[in-house]
């Protein structure tokens, strides 16, 4: 089968088909052949031998943002399989307005910008206290604060909209 894969920012096309002998796979990455000996140890834990190089790869199965653990690395990827539902889900867009949502329940300690401010990418927008820690919520892009939906002292739940940056 053929899959379109986006990994570490790079897109590539992968053809993957089982070879005749157990565990052997014929894989082509952007047309380049790769001989892989694959063995699934437990669901989501894979041993790969490629030209004798050994890799233990663990799937971090989050339907929205799947990732691989290889050694100490954690590598997110995205599948654009025309048959796969996942591809219909869109990647986080950074052009146009972006909605800043609370990724965890917490309490807004203070706001660091006000509506209309111009913000740079990774600039802190507000401080959220959660799990006994004060956490600065940063802007995912350069832009302008089009809206602020919370104020200091507010308690927020997961998914609550905090701000909109355009």
């Amino acid at each position: 089968m053929t899959l379109n894969l986006e990994i570490d920012g790079r897109a590539c096309q992968v053809e993957v088909d089982p070879a005749d002998s157990p565990g052997q796979w014929r894989i082509r990455v952007d047309g380049q052949p790769v001989e892989a000996d694959a063995h699934l140890l437990r669901p989501g834990v894979l041993s790969l031998l490629i030209d004798g190089q050994s890799f233990r790869i663990v799937l971090d199965a989050d339907p929205n943002a799947p990732a691989l653990h290889i050694g100490a690395q954690r590598i997110p990827y995205r599948i654009d399989d025309p048959r796969s539902l996942r591809s219909r889900r869109r990647h986080v867009r950074t052009d146009g307005p972006v909605t800043l949502k609370a990724s965890m329940p917490g309490r807004v300690v203070r706001l660091l910008v006000k509506k209309g401010d111009v913000v740079a990418i990774h600039q802190s927008v507000l401080v959220l206290e959660a799990m006994k820690m004060q956490n600065e919520i940063k802007s995912p892009k350069d832009g302008q604060v089009r809206d602020l939906r919370v104020s200091a002292g507010d308690t927020v739940a997961v998914g609550d909209i905090l701000a909109i940056i355009e």
């Binding site: 089982p18 892989a36 699934l40 663990v58 100490a72 990827y77 956490n135």
Partner: protein, 505 residues
């Protein structure tokens, strides 16, 4: 010997104390909040009782409930661990008056040394060097400004009841002081129920060196050497080690001696730690005392060969210390990494949730004090520390290499952790050369901010792509779509059959 010990804590430290009690043959009682019904300390205890809802003030901080349970189930001692009620002198006193042994110092000593301001007064009396600044809580921003002017900027505001970097603010210019005073005070109020803050001169690029003490109830007090905890993020310890690369036997003896004098002057007993700042001329300044077991106690256990929690319990049972100062020998080097459920790539945002996959390291020289298991749901309600990974080896160099080896073996799936951060720090020439101070990590992160995701190094690019494709491919076998591929249909059918037995080869 105690009939039964109640552990008034949760997470890895509750488990660590449970294990010590079991090794000493003492039955254990766990307490838990609604968020912790399935927590490891509940599973491993002999008995477990519910305290209340998830928020700490309604559960782990309910000293009244905890004493009630202890009395009901016949526990004659309580170990508070660290955090929560561990430095609460009122709770210690409640234990004393209800005839239940508080495994820690007497409340009287806690009142003297537990409050940072009182401790600074005691330090003066014991003739121990301390940072310039006030020895009383500040009534107002104005008073703060006067003291700051006296010692000179930059200065540090601290919570008198504080710890763990909460209610702490560095101030470099007078105009910043009022705002810093307000936020430090309010944060302290929220964290410790007391807004009292004091002020001291900020030592430039200090190292954080602390001395571990053990004092029995017969007037004997020994020092178990130092720990270096200079690798901190926003005043939170991240990596600790023993011994310190810069402390020589003479300095160790002088710091240990000063620490012992202060503890004895306050009638301190059980385990305690005196924290110092060490400047670049190796002058040391008393910072504060932690009147409890420290998170990082394992590195001291590994280099001294003693079990601090065993000794805490034996001291609380009235036994004399089984050794003297001259018996304390340091051997080898130990490093601890605090594994947190947080996302370093995203402003260290906490990352609670279900641990979907857990592969833990092992083998020579690796100790893990963990509070998690595969399937455990890390609650949002408490400190996000998951585990302490500790490496021990004959030398610092090998201990670092060993820790890196263990980090490579360690996989935590389902939530984000700071595992990758340690790999970066332990590979940094500055850290490897022990050129560290309490500002080291914040500078390191500013100089080299973490990428939003690990970038694939050359060697693992192809395997990563192949693995992603294989996971996807074998997954789609389930819904059979792959089998409609015509060409390789037969091969796929074979795979599908193998899949049925849970393996793709």
């Amino acid at each position: 010997m105690f009939r039964k010990v109640l552990i008034a804590n949760r997470g890895e430290i509750a488990l660590r104390i449970l294990r010590a009690c079991r090794e000493l043959g003492i039955p254990t009682v766990a307490v838990y909040s609604d968020a912790d019904r399935a927590a490891p300390h509940v599973l491993e205890a002999d008995e477990a009782y519910r305290l209340g809802p998830a928020p700490a003030p309604e559960s782990y901080l309910r000293g009244d409930l905890i004493l009630e349970i202890a009395a009901r189930v016949g526990a004659d001692a309580i170990h508070p661990g660290y955090g929560f009620l561990s430095e609460n002198a009122d709770f210690a006193q409640m234990c004393e008056s209800s005839g239940i042994k508080f495994i820690g110092p007497p409340s009287s000593a806690m009142r003297i040394l537990g409050s940072k301001t009182n401790a600074r007064q005691a330090a003066d009396e014991a003739g121990m060097p301390r940072t310039p600044g006030c020895v009383h809580g500040l009534a107002s921003p104005e008073e703060a400004a006067d003291v700051a002017a006296g010692v000179g900027y930059p200065v540090m505001l601290k919570a008198a009841a504080g710890g763990g970097g909460k209610g702490m603010r560095a101030v470099s210019r007078p105009e910043e002081l009022p705002a810093a005073f307000a936020s430090a005070s309010s944060e302290a109020e929220r964290a410790f129920g007391s807004g009292e803050v004091y002020l001291e001169k900020l030592i430039e690029r200090p190292r954080h060196i602390e001395i571990q003490l053990l004092a029995d109830e017969h007037g004997h007090c020994v020092s178990l050497g130092e720990r270096e905890c200079s690798v901190q993020r926003r005043h939170q310890k991240v990596i600790e080690e023993a011994p310190s690369a810069v402390v020589d036997p003479d300095l160790r003896r002088r710091m240990g001696g000063a620490a012992v004098r202060l503890a004895l002057s306050a009638g301190y007993t059980n385990a305690g730690t005196i924290e110092f700042l060490l400047d670049d001329e190796k002058n040391f300044y008393f910072l504060e005392m932690n009147t409890r077991l420290q998170v990082e106690h394992p590195v001291t256990e590994l280099v001294t060969g003693y079990d601090l929690v065993h000794l805490q319990i034996r001291i609380a049972q009235g036994e004399p210390l089984p050794f003297e100062q001259k018996d304390v020998q340091l051997r080898g080097h130990a490093i601890e990494c605090r594994i947190y459920a947080e996302d370093p790539a995203n402003g260290f945002m906490p990352s609670p949730g279900r641990i979907s996959r857990l592969l833990q390291p092992g083998g020579p020289g690796i100790r893990e004090d963990s509070g998690i298991y595969e399937g455990w749901i890390v609650p949002v309600d408490y400190d996000p520390m998951l585990s302490k990974l500790i490496a021990y080896a004959p030398t610092r160099e090998i201990a670092i290499a060993r820790m890196l080896r263990a980090l490579d073996e360690y996989v935590i799936g389902g939530i984000r952790t700071n595992l990758a951060l340690f790999r970066r720090i332990l590979s940094d020439p500055g850290f490897r050369a022990a050129r560290i101070d309490t500002g080291y990590l914040d500078r390191f992160l500013a100089d080299a901010p973490l990428p939003l995701a690990d970038s694939v190094d050359g060697s693992s690019a192809i395997p990563a792509v192949a693995a992603a494709a294989l996971f996807e491919a074998t997954k789609t076998i389930a819904n059979g779509s792959a089998l409609r591929d015509g060409a390789s249909a037969n091969a796929w059918k074979t795979v599908a059959r193998r899949e049925a037995v849970g393996s793709i080869d």
